[in-house]
Symmetry: C2
Subunit: 421 residues, 2 copies
């Protein structure tokens, strides 16, 4: 592979929406997201491939070797968190473009014609920082989320997905290609590969995750003139809930569960008014669904006691429940073989974070690969992976894609969404 | 007095920016604030008085009986908290308009010419919900805040006071009248008058208050993929600070101090990102400055320990420190006499909340009056005072204004800002 060309592209895309501390800020359907989309579109068209944008803003670059055959799709997402890292998502899309170009060259140079065509994808709104839920574009593609409902989702300013996509010119009308298989490569966002000195993580399953939408309803009053005993302060109650969400992890083994509150809005948000309403979102994740369920049950019980103590109403709703998803064993064995042929070390690994591959795996046999993250940090500006690890990952993804278009997983069924829910 | 005309005006103004639950939402320099300003301007002009708007948006209606003489100023503010009550501020402005019209009629009917002229004021941004600090217009008038600095203050959307006032057409250029004295009537926002069945509160002093601007700096990371032990969650630390601010009151006698956090912003505010920064404002108030100082010292110490425990940076800045202000004894004695003549019961009272009169009292001898608040609640939609209590208050304010224009406090010096700071 021409690793210099890949690295040039990678480091160029990192300049789009770049932040002061080497991160990027390219939230879904913003002006910065549009710039990476234009870069992707130009790249695909320069390569001579067909560009398609579907009705939820997913972008596909299609390589047509076998007229009418389904596609193996490879890729990830170019959107980022606010002040996010430059590797998360973008690495997978750029690696896929270069893997596809390499396979395209092999076919042009007379390699055996594959069974399937190939497509490179840039999924819409994987991050979910602006529009919830995350993994939106691939979940709509996979039929796990309803397109019309997602187009109506608003951000904190009230702008809908439909308005935002139309505003940047990426509310498309093209039909997305059928998927005969899917592969994605991503940074690990954890410390395991780095700690063990391993090149490639082969993702065998995703963690069980769920969110809780929590609305705390107190009573608005004057911060100066209202006696402490007469207050029903929604922010005081919400603060206790935030600490409960954090501390519930201590009831379980180390690293068995993670939980947090990352989003909170306060009304009226005036320095001299006791808050009447706080809305927050809690996120619970574990490799064991029973642990998440036990933590949720404890939280609901503790919140109920708290609401009575504070004479406050708290509404809690479950949403975005994602069961454990297992990637096909045949894909893991295939990846083991490809890694060995490339002389790369590999190990099986779980993903705590969600990925587009988790949605795609419900409709097509999917292979999910990790490369090491320095210090295990992500969703922040100091997220980092070395050039050498990135280049090895492009080789790995190229090898997987070559096998997939040749039909290596053609007989492997995709796990259905229903069977795992 | 024509109490029907007063009540008609009061209940009409309550429809401007009215909310679903009988409150109003008229934050400073919004479209709703502009509507009450237009109502005030029209009323003043219909009465045949001179209308002036000064360079910080304060509106004055001037009655000129004695050419060139200074003015006694009476009034309050028409802006409200978000989802605020319809009595706070608006009552005092409308009561002042009617008191002034009554005295104007008395002069027209041949009453002895007073020593001073009279002006009715609608102060800009008493509430401070949109633009901090509160009590902005009267503090600029009194020289306690700098006009240019206040015009540059931004709201959470980045709109400045200058832009907002110019946008609604109320960034004036007129000179404000000189004040020979000041009187204001307001709802109590507490339970004392209601509990004791007393008509009028005579405010003898204000509480000591201060705010703390607190910035919590953690590290942004992925809520799913970051181990609990590796996190520096700014929202978890901020939640502990919010509870510290609430609980510090328990170290002191019941009702000796109130404290709260009413404003908080979170970055990046994404459901799947551990927060990197939380900015919050704490408000501490007591009748005894030493209690606020002791509470502040305890908070700073506890926050320092917390920051080290969480390996997080916390920046704390003091701002908006307001010393205890005493209203002149001569004004209190005058008010006692006026109440007795009207057959109204009265008692001396402290104010926990800030008022425009507290700023005005530093430049002119001031009289601050309260009428009862049902249940003591304010800054919320269910704030309530009866028509009968409001009408009695208009009589009281009229009596005070009649004495002030006649020179009752002409020899009383105003407490200087410096002496009390």
């Amino acid at each position: 592979m021409n690793s210099a060309a890949f690295l040039t592209d990678f480091h160029h895309v990192a300049t789009i929406g770049a932040t002061a501390n080497n991160g990027v800020d390219r939230q879904a359907a913003t002006a910065e997201d549009a710039l990476t989309r234009e870069w992707f579109a130009a790249w695909v068209q320069d390569a001579g491939w067909e560009l398609r944008v579907d009705g939820i803003g997913n972008m596909f670059g299609l390589l047509e070797w076998v007229p009418g055959a389904p596609h193996i799709i490879i890729g990830s997402h170019l959107d980022s968190q606010p002040l996010g890292g430059r590797f998360d998502g973008a690495y997978g899309v750029i690696a896929a473009l270069h893997a596809a170009r390499r396979l395209d060259a092999e076919v042009a140079e007379g390699a055996e014609l594959p069974q399937f065509n190939l497509a490179v994808v840039n999924w819409f709104n994987e991050e979910g920082g602006r529009f919830a839920p995350s993994i939106m574009g691939s979940s709509v593609y996979a039929g796990l989320l309803d397109r019309e409902k997602m187009l109506a989702v608003g951000d904190l300013q009230g702008t809908t997905v439909r308005e935002a996509l139309a505003g940047i010119g990426y509310l498309g009308t093209a039909e997305a290609p059928d998927a005969a298989g899917y592969a994605e490569i991503h940074i690990e966002q954890g410390r395991i590969l780095e700690r063990e000195g391993i090149n490639i993580g082969l993702v065998d399953s995703s963690w069980y995750t769920q969110k809780l939408d929590i609305e705390v309803l107190g009573e608005q009053s004057h911060t100066g003139a209202t006696a402490m005993a007469d207050r029903h302060d929604a922010l005081v109650a919400a603060s206790k809930i935030i600490l409960m969400v954090h501390d519930v992890t201590k009831d379980f083994a180390d690293e068995a569960i993670v939980s947090s509150v990352g989003q909170l809005t306060l009304e009226p948000n005036s320095p001299i008014v006791v808050a009447r309403r706080v809305h927050l979102v809690a996120d619970l994740r574990s490799g064991d669904p029973d642990i998440v369920k036990a933590a949720r049950a404890k939280l609901l019980k503790d919140i109920d006691v708290l609401a009575r103590e504070h004479d406050i109403k708290v509404n809690v709703k479950d949403f975005d429940i994602r069961p454990i998803r297992r990637f096909p064993e045949a894909g893991l064995e295939l990846a083991d073989k490809v890694a060995a042929n490339l002389g790369l070390s590999a190990r099986r690994i779980q993903t705590m974070a969600g990925h587009d591959s988790v949605a795609m795996n419900t409709v097509a046999p999917s292979v999910m690969l990790f490369i090491p993250s320095v210090d295990g940090v992500s969703h922040c500006e100091r997220e980092f992976t070395t050039d050498a690890d990135m280049v090895a990952g492009v080789d790995m993804l190229t090898g997987i894609a070559r096998e997939l278009v040749a039909g290596a997983l053609a007989e492997t069924p995709a796990p259905s969404a229903a069977a795992l829910a």
